[in-house]
């Protein structure tokens, strides 16, 4: 299986090097040799609470952010996300209807031009953080670029993990750093300006 290289990472210092990022903690163990994911604590808290409130139904949405490189380290920063509040959801599946994608298109274009759709997030109530067979086919179909990740949160275990592409295959689920930023709006603007629409 091969992914298609359509986006190039833009140069931006790793959050570990930028003192505006603080209280960088980890959600689970961080796997190396893969696309690193840095997620805003606000986004992660939203996913956690949204998943818990809607148990046992699955919830989901799309992560927006930027695909960056610092020296040889490729990573994505996710400062914001759009939740899917429409469509059908069961304890074992979630459907992202066309209306949701229409809304994503609008919000993305109007509010976050320059950011990329980094990938989907959804909850797995009681099923762990590894993608299911259905998830894999969804990810393969719609998020198959090297900068794409897929995040899963299990509200039962209160644990999150993400998969990404590595050498054309989906890497095993891994933990990731969660950050706070002293100027979150400035960060979003900087990330948007890195890739003019």
């Amino acid at each position: 299986m091969r992914t298609v290289q359509t986006r190039k990472p833009v140069e931006y210092p790793l959050p570990f090097s930028d003192e505006r990022f603080y209280e960088i903690e980890a959600e689970g163990d961080i796997g190396s040799d893969r696309l690193l994911l840095f997620m805003s604590r606000d986004v992660h808290e939203f996913i956690r609470s949204h998943s818990k409130e809607n148990e046992p139904k699955e919830v989901g949405g799309v992560l927006l952010g930027q695909y960056c490189i610092d020296q040889d380290t490729r990573y994505v920063i996710v400062p914001t996300a759009i939740a899917c509040d429409i469509g059908s959801a069961t304890p074992a599946s979630i459907d992202f209807p066309p209306e949701f994608w229409q809304r994503v298109e609008e919000v993305h274009n109007d509010e976050y031009p320059g950011l990329l759709r980094i990938g989907p997030f959804h909850s797995h109530p009681g099923y762990g953080v590894n993608p299911s067979a259905t998830d894999r086919s969804t990810i393969l179909a719609a998020f198959s670029h090297p900068h794409h990740v897929s995040l899963i949160h299990d509200p039962h275990e209160d644990r999150s993990g993400y998969t990404c592409w590595r050498d054309g295959e989906l890497a095993p689920a891994s933990g990731f750093p969660i950050y706070r930023h002293r100027e979150p709006e400035t960060l979003v603007k900087e990330l948007m300006d890195l890739r003019p629409a």
Binding site: F16, S17, D18, E25, A26, G31, S32, D33, T73, P177
Partner: protein, 477 residues
């Protein structure tokens, strides 16, 4: 008449009489002692041990009362188990170059060292001083250990002013502290000092005898003493390179290493130095095995942000100054030694006062988080010590193949084939292994001393200390 055994509990200063009714074991006695104390048994396991009240030898938990030799048993804090745990931690830190085996349930430990130490061997026309990579010693913990220091008998050939084969030895300069003092005695410090002695970093050549009131017999090998005086600096440099060689991380950012998981403990702030502790180093820090130690690893920087990878923790002798590959120091939790390295880019690691958390300081800055990562490369290599291996799956000689007449004979058994090598070209001075056609070896182009190619590679040169290609002379460590 039922056996009656006098049990002395050294920790509580109480004496009991044990009257076993049947086939009770030493483990049952431990349960009774725990009950008498009102202590939960699981809290005592591993911390309490039984030793023969007369000779101090440990008693295995499975020993039955009727097979006990004497009628006196002493219960004491599990020093032998504790020593064994310390050695296990040290084995991880030495990255496959140190191993140990407890001899049965006794208080004796066979110590295997894979570091390069000097020995003498016969050359063509003269005695040669060569580097050997296999050394052994026997350490015995006496019945009143740790009040009394262990005894160490060096077993293998050695060329050193203070070490002699088949003799009791003690690392020069090492003081065995009183247990009541702040600095607790430990086998870690002893084995660390022994290792330093083996590689030549510690040596008392007797030059100052008399001036310091040392006994004249502290120098056991006068020829070695003279040799060490002559090449003092070269040996010290070589020894340091043996012990403190930098880990082979290659300067690569740890989060870019292939297939490694890192656990971030606490939190970090952008721009702060990033600290990566190998799993083995983190274990050593938490174990309290080391009063103080050197943090050996690599440091680098990216976008102005320093990062440090600590591969292992090694026993420290702070009188000698900081080794080049030490990126910081482990602050002793018990001996109160404060180490200042005089470098703003040095890392200091310790344990919080309650012993539950790792605390870090970089220069003057307290850090609130660090990564703990995969086993370092040295931990995954396995032991570098020579091993005896009998192939049972693949015969050394393929079926139908003729062995060279007169050189080998093979005995077939139901579980493979064992081939005796009856003719060799001599012995490799580094590993003491035979020089045969099964492993690449050659004579040194500089001095003609033969050695395995792998041994030369491991040593970064020729084992012959007099050869210009020896790491002792060439500086290629």
């Amino acid at each position: 008449m039922p056996k009656r055994i006098l049990v002395r509990d050294d920790r509580t200063d109480r004496t009991f009489e044990w009257r076993p009714s049947g086939n009770e074991t030493a483990a049952d006695l431990l349960i009774l002692i725990a009950e008498a104390e009102g202590s939960p048994l699981d809290g005592l396991m591993g911390k309490l041990e039984l030793v023969d009240g007369l000779n101090g030898q440990p008693i295995a938990p499975g020993t039955t009362a009727d097979t006990l030799r004497g009628d006196r048993v002493t219960a004491r804090t599990g020093f032998v188990c504790d020593a064994e745990a310390q050695l296990a931690i040290l084995r991880e830190q030495y990255g496959g170059r140190f191993d140990f085996h407890r001899l049965g349930e006794s208080a004796s430990f066979l110590l295997d060292f894979g570091f390069g130490g000097l020995i003498e061997c016969n050359g063509t026309n003269e005695r040669l001083v060569v580097v050997s990579g296999h050394h052994q010693a026997l350490m015995y913990l006496p019945s009143d250990f740790p009040r009394q220091r262990p005894t160490v008998t060096w077993l293998t050939a050695i060329f050193h002013p203070n070490l002699q084969a088949q003799c009791q030895v003690w690392p020069p300069g090492l003081v065995w502290p009183e247990p009541e003092r702040e600095q607790a005695p430990s086998v870690t410090a002893l084995v660390g000092a022994l290792t330093e002695t083996l590689v030549g970093m510690r040596a008392d050549t007797g030059r100052l005898s008399g001036l310091l009131g040392r006994p004249a017999n502290s120098v056991g090998n006068k020829r070695a003493s003279s040799w060490f005086r002559k090449y003092r600096e070269e040996i010290a440099t070589f020894g340091e390179s043996q012990l403190f060689c930098a880990p082979s991380l290659g300067g690569e950012f740890p989060l870019d290493l292939p297939d490694a998981d890192w656990r971030l403990t606490g939190h970090v702030t952008g721009g702060e130095p990033l600290i990566f502790l190998s799993a083995a180093a983190a274990k050593a820090v938490r174990s309290r095995t080391f009063g103080s130690g050197w943090l050996v690893g690599t440091r680098n920087s990216r976008q102005g942000t320093d990062w440090i990878y600590v591969d292992r923790v090694l026993p420290a002798d702070f009188r000698r100054g900081r080794p080049a590959s030490a990126v910081g120091a482990l602050h002793g939790t018990e001996d109160g030694q404060a180490i200042e390295m005089g470098d703003a880019r040095s890392l200091y690691v310790g344990l919080s006062p309650d012993g539950t958390a790792v605390s870090l300081r970089y220069g003057e800055r307290d850090l609130s988080g660090h990564f703990v990562g995969p086993l370092g490369p040295s931990d995954t290599e396995g032991s570098l010590l020579p091993k005896i291996r009998v192939e049972t799956e693949q015969p050394l000689i393929a079926e139908g193949e003729q062995s060279e007449p007169g050189t080998m004979s093979a005995a077939k058994t139901g579980s493979g084939e064992l081939v005796a090598i009856e003719s060799t070209e001599g012995e490799c001075p580094y590993c003491s292994g035979p020089l045969t056609g099964h492993e690449e070896w050659h004579n040194c182009p500089g001095c003609g001393v033969p050695a395995h190619g792998g041994c030369r590679e491991r040593l970064s040169g020729c084992p012959n200390a007099a050869c210009q290609q020896s790491p002792i002379n060439s500086g290629q460590h």
